[in-house]
C-alpha cells in the first residue's frame, strides 16, 4: 500500500545514475473491463521541460530515487490517449469529486495505489485528515502529537468505483456517466446538488436521467427547486416537470416567473399539463392546492380479479396506492375500497359488493387545516376531492395534508411519526 503523494517529487535517474529530473505526475488510464485505472506513464520534470515515459521504463516507483531502465538520451516516448488518460496529480489530487456511495462532494487529499503483478492501480481516494497530514512538512511532528494525545485518526477512503470526477475547468472532463450515478438515491442527489456550484450543477444534472432529476427535485425545498429549474433549458425542464408528481410540479410552477411557467406548461405533454393546470387553479392552502391528481380508479361492474388487472396496467406509476376509487364513465365517485380488501377478496367477487359506497370526501376549496382534521379524525391515508358535480378530481394524501400543518421542528423530532 502506497500513496501518490509519497511518489511525487522523487528524483529520477537514468540507467547510469545520471540525474534526469523529478517525478511530476502519474498518468493512469481508464480500462473498460477494470474497476481501477492502471498507471501507464510517468511525467518527468526535466528542469522545466516535461517528458512523459511509460511507467514500465522505471525499475520501481517505490525506491527512494527512481532509476530508469534506459539511458537519458534514449528515453522511450509514451503515447497519450486524450480520452481515457487521467493526470493523477494535475486532475485529481486536491480537486473535488463526487462520492457516489456517500452522496457528497469531497476534496481529494491523496490517492492510494497498489502494485499487483507488476502493474500499479489506483484503488482508493483518501479524503481523510491523514491524507493532509501525510503531505505536510510537519508530518512527523503532527504524528507524534497525535500519538502523544492518543488520538487515532480514522482512515477515510472512497473506493475508486464510487468516484465521479467533476469538470472544473477546461482540462477536466466529466466522464461518461457511470452506472454509479444511475444508482444514486434521490436524497443523495439532492445533497450533492446543494454542494455544487451553478456550472457544475448544470453538468451534473445533464448526466442524470430525467426521472432521477425529478425525484431529486421532490426532495428539496421550493426555492432550491426554482433555482435548479432556472438552470435547465426549457425542453428539459418541461420533461422533468412531467416526471414530477403533479402537485409538486404545480407548487414549483407557481414560484416561477409567470412567463416561464406558462411556457413550460405549454411544452409539457397534454395529459400532464392538464393535471398541473387544474392544480394551479386552487389556492396553496386549500385541498385543491395540496391534492395530487394521480389516483387509481376502477369501474363498478368488474370483478376483483379484473380490478387487479386494471390496476396492474394503469396504476404502476402512482406515488401512493392505499385506496382504489370506484367511478362511472363520467368519473362520478361511487365508492372506495382499500388495496388490502381487494387482495383478500375472492377473485370472482363483484367490486360493487366489495366497495364501501359511503365515501368520506371533500371539496377542493376546503381549508387545509380542515383537511388535516378530517384525515386524522377518520384515520385515513388519503381523502378524495370531488367537484360540485361529484366528479373525483384528485386525492389528498395524509402526509401531504399533515406536511402543511405540523411545524417543521416537530417533524424533525418525530421523523417516523407520520411517514
Amino acid at each position: 500500500m502506497a500513496f501518490v503523494s509519497e511518489v511525487l517529487r522523487k528524483t529520477i535517474t537514468d540507467i547510469d545514475g545520471t540525474y534526469v529530473g523529478i517525478l511530476e505526475d502519474l498518468i493512469a488510464r481508464d480500462i473498460p473491463e477494470m474497476i481501477h485505472p492502471r498507471v501507464e506513464a510517468i511525467q518527468i520534470n526535466c528542469k522545466g521541460k516535461m517528458k512523459i515515459v511509460p511507467v514500465l521504463s522505471a525499475m520501481s516507483l517505490f525506491a527512494p530515487a527512481i532509476p530508469l531502465k534506459f539511458h537519458i538520451d534514449d528515453l522511450p516516448e509514451f503515447e497519450l490517449d486524450d480520452v481515457r488518460d487521467i493526470y493523477l496529480a494535475r486532475d485529481v489530487l486536491d480537486m473535488q469529486i463526487i462520492d457516489t456511495d456517500g452522496g457528497r462532494v469531497v476534496r481529494v487529499n491523496d490517492l492510494q495505489i497498489i502494485r499487483v503483478q507488476g502493474a500499479i492501480y489506483v484503488t482508493n481516494v483518501d479524503v481523510g485528515l491523514n491524507g493532509i497530514i501525510r503531505r505536510t512538512p510537519a508530518k512527523k511532528l503532527a504524528n507524534s502529537l497525535l500519538e502523544l494525545f492518543k488520538i487515532k485518526l480514522k482512515e477515510n477512503f472512497i473506493a475508486w468505483d464510487n468516484v465521479e470526477l467533476l469538470m472544473h475547468d477546461q482540462f477536466m472532463r466529466l466522464k461518461v456517466p457511470k452506472e454509479s450515478l444511475a444508482d444514486l438515491h434521490p436524497a443523495d442527489i439532492a445533497e450533492i446538488l446543494s454542494d455544487l456550484s451553478k456550472l457544475e450543477t448544470t453538468q451534473f444534472l445533464d448526466a442524470l436521467d430525467v426521472e432521477q432529476v425529478a425525484d431529486a427535485l421532490e426532495q428539496v425545498e421550493t426555492d432550491f427547486q426554482v433555482s435548479l429549474i432556472e438552470s435547465m433549458d426549457d425542453e428539459r425542464a418541461a420533461d422533468v416537470l412531467e416526471e414530477m408528481d403533479p402537485d409538486e410540479a404545480a407548487d414549483l410552477l407557481q414560484e416561477l416567473p409567470e412567463e416561464r411557467s406558462q411556457l413550460l406548461v405549454s411544452l409539457m405533454q397534454k395529459s400532464e399539463a392538464d393535471d398541473v393546470k387544474l392544480l394551479l387553479e386552487f389556492d396553496d392552502d386549500t385541498a385543491g392546492g395540496i391534492m395530487t391528481t394521480e389516483f387509481a380508479t376502477v369501474p363498478e361492474n368488474v370483478t376483483a380479479a379484473q380490478a387487479i388487472n386494471i390496476l396492474r396496467e394503469n396504476a404502476s406509476d402512482l406515488e401512493t396506492l392505499h385506496y382504489v376509487y370506484v367511478t362511472d364513465e363520467l368519473n362520478h365517485l361511487l365508492g372506495v375500497f382499500s388495496l388490502k380488501e381487494l387482495l383478500f377478496a375472492s377473485p370472482k367477487e363483484k367490486i360493487s359488493d366489495l366497495m364501501e359506497p359511503k365515501v368520506r370526501q371533500i371539496r377542493p376549496d376546503l381549508d387545509q387545516d380542515e383537511v388535516a382534521k378530517i384525515i386524522t379524525k377518520y384515520d385515513l391515508l388519503a381523502v378524495p376531492v370531488v367537484n360540485q358535480n361529484d366528479v373525483i378530481i384528485g386525492i389528498v394524501t395524509a402526509d401531504d395534508a399533515l406536511d402543511k400543518i405540523i411545524p417543521t421542528a416537530w417533524k424533525k423530532r418525530l421523523p417516523k411519526f407520520y411517514h
Binding site: V105, N109, V127, I132, R135, H168, E191, S194, E221, H419
Partner: protein, 422 residues
Amino acid sequence: MEKKKFFFKRSWRSIILLFSVFGPATITALADNDAGGVATYSIAGAKLGYPILFMLPILTLLLAITQEMGMRLTIITRRGLADLIREKEGVRAALFMFTALFIANVGTLVTEISAIKTTSQMFGIPEIPAVIFMVLLSFFVITRGSYKVTQNIMLFSSLIFFVYIFSAFKSNPDWGNALSNLIYPHGVNFTQTYMRDYLIIGLGVLGTTITPWGQFFISSFAYDKKIEKGKVNLSQLETYWGAFLTDFFSFFMIVATATTLFANGIELTSGEQAALAIEPFAGKLASILFAVGILNAGFMGLVVVSLTTAYAFAEFFGVSGSLDDSFEKSKTFYYLYGFQLVLALLIVVLSNFSLFQIAVVTQSINAVALPLVFYYLIKLTNDQKLMGEHKNNSFKKWFTSISAVVIVIASILTVLAYFVFE
C-alpha cells in the same frame, strides 16, 4: 415527505442574497462595519486626530483593487479563493493560508465578543453570562435564522454609521483641516510617541479596513451569486464604489471622534467615552445608542466572521462542510466551528482586556496576515492560463505587490515598536 432544509447553507446564502439586493457596492461597506471597525476608527480619531485621515485615500485604493481582484478571480474561474489556493498551490499552501486566516479570524471574533462585553458593562449586566448567551445566540441565528433576521441585523448595524455622519457635522469640526489631512498629515506635534502610536494604530486601521476574511467573503459572494463573465466590468465599478463607501463612513467616524475626543484630550478606554463622539447628535441617548450599536455590530461580525472561517475551511479541505450534516458525518467541521468560538470566548473571559485595549492588536493581526492573502491573490490573478484576457494590468499588479511589501515592513516595525521602543 421530509424535505432537506440545508439550514446552514441557507443562512450563508441569506447573507449573500441580502448583499445581492444592494449590489456588491454595499457589501464591503456593510460587512466591514463590525465592532472592530467602530472601535478601531474611534481609537484612531481619539488618539491621533485628523492626521490619521491621511491613510484613507491610500487604503481606499488598496481596498478597491484587492476586492476587485478577488471578485474578478471568482467570476472568471468560477471558483472560490480557497478552492483555487488548494487546487493551484497545493495542500501545504492551503494549510498555511488557513492557519493564518484562522488566527486572524479568532482575533476578530475576540474583538466582536469584547464589544458585547462592553455593552453589558454599560448596561450593568453580568458580563460572562451575557457574552456566552450572545455566542450561543449567534449559533442559533446561523442554524435557524431567516433572511429577515439577518437583514435586520445588518441594516440596523449600518444605522450607527449614519449617526456618526450627523455627529461629525454637528460637532463643528475644522473641515479645512480635516480635508487637507487627506492629502498630507499635518496640524499636530509629530513627536516620537505620536509617530509610534501612528504606526501601531495605523496598522490596526489597515487591518480593520482590509481584512483576510473580507477577501474570502467577497470571493464567496461572487461565487454564490454566480455573476456572469460578461458583467465583470460592471462588478469592477461596483467594487470601487463599495470601497469608497467603506472609507466614506470611516472618514466621518474619525472626524467625529477626533473633534470630540482628541481635541479635548480624552483618552479612549470605555464605551461611555466612545459614546461622547456621537453626543453632538444623539445627546443624552448617546451612551445607549453606542451600546446598542456596538452590540449589534459585534453580533453581526460574530455571525459573518465565524461563517467565513467555516466556509474557507470547507473549501480548503473539502471536509463535508456543513452544519446541515449530522454531527457524526462532519465532526471535523463542527469541532472547528465550535473551537474558534470557544477559543475567542476564553480569551475574552480570561484576559479581562477591554474592547479598546484589544481592538488595535487584533485588527493588526489581520493586517499582518494580509500580505499572504495578497500574494496568492496576485499570483492567481496574474495566471494567464487561469484568467486569459482578464489578467491583471501592470498597475494593479505593481500597486498591490508594493503594498504587500510595505505592509510587511510596517508589520515588522510595529512589532519592534511594541517590544523595543516601549
